[in-house]
């Protein structure tokens, strides 16, 4: 197989690989085995919940466990009818989309300032914003709860959107992208006499589109997945998002394993589909975050 030669073993060391051909070939098979074993470990729980969600209660209580589904779609109907899922879904989609738009706007402006504009305090601001990562959310629960109560935001959509409308990750990533905009682009805009906002909207924004997509995806998923914040800040299902709904469902229907598994499947399905469609962007986002560390 052509695969067992490592990319870095081209060039001088290729000569050596002739001597160790058998050895390398062995490693190749070992690698494939190891890789697929890892894959199995990481995705098996997903398979498992699907199997459980399609089994009858007798198969679930079977020991040793059964690995094949018995197509009990009734579990889905039961789970779906026992909680206001449509409301939860609608709330989540609304909250996640508006949070994403807000975070994109604020990150774009801040990233433009920190990446393109040159002013004395810009590195200071950047360091200050990055240091926010050190403040854990749990620390902020109490004061934010009091704050939200005092401004009348408890149990509203506002509390779930506005505080998450600025993203340190988003600002970081956009700054990286803005820094790498070619100088000529700025000079050309200068000669055309374009204003800063015009430059941002017409020139910079199309150039950083990949970063915007990545940030949008991460903020959207982050909002969709969030639990602790809406759990503390809201009480009524009419404004609560899907994960809080699922946790309540666990509390009330926790004994019904097949129904619970079905609920897990249909509440996670949109996230999984989004991830599978945009997996390249998700991985690129993490990759860009990782490679930007030294910059």
């Amino acid at each position: 197989m052509a695969n067992d030669i490592r990319p870095e073993s081209r060039g001088t060391s290729t000569n050596l690989s002739i001597f160790f051909k058998g050895h390398l070939k062995g490693q190749g098979w070992f690698r494939i085995f190891l890789g697929w074993f890892l894959l199995l470990m990481f995705i098996f729980p997903f398979y498992w919940v699907i199997v459980t969600s399609l089994n009858g209660s007798s198969q679930v209580m079977q020991y040793p466990p059964t690995f094949l589904p018995h197509w009990q779609w009734i579990n889905y109907l039961r789970a779906w009818s026992e909680a206001p899922w449509v409301t939860y879904f609608a709330n989540t989609i609304f909250i996640a989309s508006t949070t994403t738009l807000l975070a994109l706007a604020t990150s774009l402006l801040a990233g433009f300032s920190l990446g393109v504009l040159q002013f004395k305090t810009r590195n200071l601001w950047f360091a200050a914003i990055l240091s926010l990562l050190m403040i854990p959310q749990t620390v902020l629960l109490i004061p934010d709860y009091i704050l939200m109560r005092d401004i009348g935001w408890l149990n509203t959509y506002w509390v779930q959107i506005v505080p998450w409308g600025a993203s340190v990750f988003g600002i970081f990533l956009l700054r990286q992208y803005m820094l790498s905009l070619p100088r000529e682009l700025i000079e050309a805009a200068e000669l055309d006499g374009a204003s800063r906002m015009k430059f941002l909207a017409r020139v910079a924004m199309p150039m950083v589109k990949p970063a915007l997509v990545v940030i949008g995806l991460y903020v959207f998923i982050g909002s969709w997945d969030s639990f602790l914040w809406p759990f503390i800040m809201t009480q009524s299902p009419s404004v609560q998002p899907i994960e809080v709904g699922l946790a309540s469902f666990l509390g009330t229907n926790g004994y019904d394993w097949t129904g619970l598994s079905a609920a897990v499947v249909f509440t996670t399905l949109p996230v999984m589909l989004l991830f599978l469609v945009a997996q390249r962007q998700f991985l690129e986002g993490a990759h860009a975050f990782g490679s930007g560390l030294k910059g």
Partner: protein, 354 residues
């Protein structure tokens, strides 16, 4: 050339490079002869930087788009920074304040300043020390282990093999899933009677354990879930770090007769240290504030075996309404994170000689 210039009827400060500042007005410009325009002139009109440029004999005025004052630069930061100030920085200071008061959550005016009394109370309750141990246990279970696994998997995935792309996506997938949903899957996997985990132990003729229902194994169960959920992100970060290490350096090491382990030890590991520090710090912060999986999987039990400091904070603040006590806990939690961050940065630096 005149047309371009005449659009501006401001008084302009012209600063020819080297010579002293002189003020000219619009009409004065005409008096410049061609020779003067050979160099660039930075001028300031209405406080914004512009530049005269001679392009093919045509005089152009160029706005310096990216040269701004600190105030102008800040204007673009206002939306993000005001959200941060209002919901993060302000509240962080507020919680620090509360921690020195006997805070009355229903009527804040009647709060009493009590100095360090809340901290004294925290440090003298056994529940706090217990929670600190649990947090430490959880951190040890997730941070060094998670970093090790992530690096190992990243090294495996840096090699080309059939299906590498799929494996990478699969390893990353749990990271994007909601903790509530996927921790529920693991409650079932870790079920002592019907779960998969005990099934596997049984198949290997190992003693079965009570997992989430046993004070001894509950934390291990939560750690297993957390590793499964979070490791994929760190894998990708490590892969980014690894791919930025130049292939020539590694090849040079190989030519010098280094084996794979020496190549890792002497080349990869030291050069990877910024990435490693980053992952250690991020994983620590995430672990210290981990809440959701504890809420769904164990609710802090059995017999407080999984009540971490974050979980204790939640209980004290939102179940028992001991606001001041919980505020002191929050401040301590923050100090712990700062402390761990500094220690890790130091340790990795000394170990890699940077």
């Amino acid at each position: 050339m005149e047309n371009k210039f005449n659009r501006y009827s401001y008084k302009i400060d012209v600063q020819p490079s080297g010579s002293r500042e002189k003020t000219v007005d619009n009409s004065a410009k005409i008096q410049f002869n061609k020779r003067n325009w050979d160099t660039k002139y930075d001028i300031i009109i209405n406080r914004s930087a512009m530049q005269f440029v001679d392009i093919g004999g045509t005089l152009m005025i160029r706005h310096r788009l990216n040269k701004v004052t600190s105030l102008e630069g800040f204007v673009y930061l206002v939306p993000a920074v005001s959200i941060f100030l209002f919901f993060i920085v302000g509240p962080a200071l507020f919680v620090l304040g509360i921690s020195f008061f006997h805070y009355n959550i229903l009527n804040s005016v009647s709060s009493r300043f009590t100095g360090l009394a809340n901290y004294h109370q925290v440090f003298t309750t056994e529940a706090f020390w217990r929670s600190l141990l649990n947090t430490l246990y959880f951190i040890i279970g997730t941070v060094p282990t998670g970093t090790f696994f992530a690096l190992f998997i990243a090294l495996v995935l840096m090699n080309k093999f059939t299906g590498r792309g799929i494996v990478r996506v699969g390893v990353f997938a749990p990271y994007v899933t909601p903790v509530v949903a996927t921790s529920i899957i693991w409650i079932w996997i870790l079920n002592p009677q019907f779960g998969l985990a005990n099934g596997i132990l049984h198949a290997f003729r190992l003693p079965e354990v009570g997992w989430l229902q046993s004070p001894r194994w509950a934390m291990v169960g939560v750690v297993l879930y957390t590793l499964w959920h979070g490791v994929g992100f760190n894998v990708v970060i490590f892969m980014a770090g690894l791919s930025s290490i130049s292939a020539e350096l590694r090849e040079a090491a190989r030519i010098d007769g280094a084996n794979r382990w020496q190549e890792f030890q002497k080349v990869i590991w030291p050069l990877l240290s910024p990435t490693t520090v980053f992952i250690l710090i991020i994983t620590t912060i995430t672990s210290v504030q981990a809440f959701t999986q504890f809420y769904t999987m164990t609710q802090g039990g059995p017999i407080n075996a999984t009540t971490t400091t974050s979980y204790l904070l939640y209980q004290q603040a939102f179940l028992f309404f001991h606001t001041s006590y919980a505020a002191a806990l929050a401040v301590i939690l923050f100090l712990i994170i700062i402390g761990l961050t500094l220690v890790q940065t130091q340790v990795v630096r000394t170990n890699t000689g940077n």
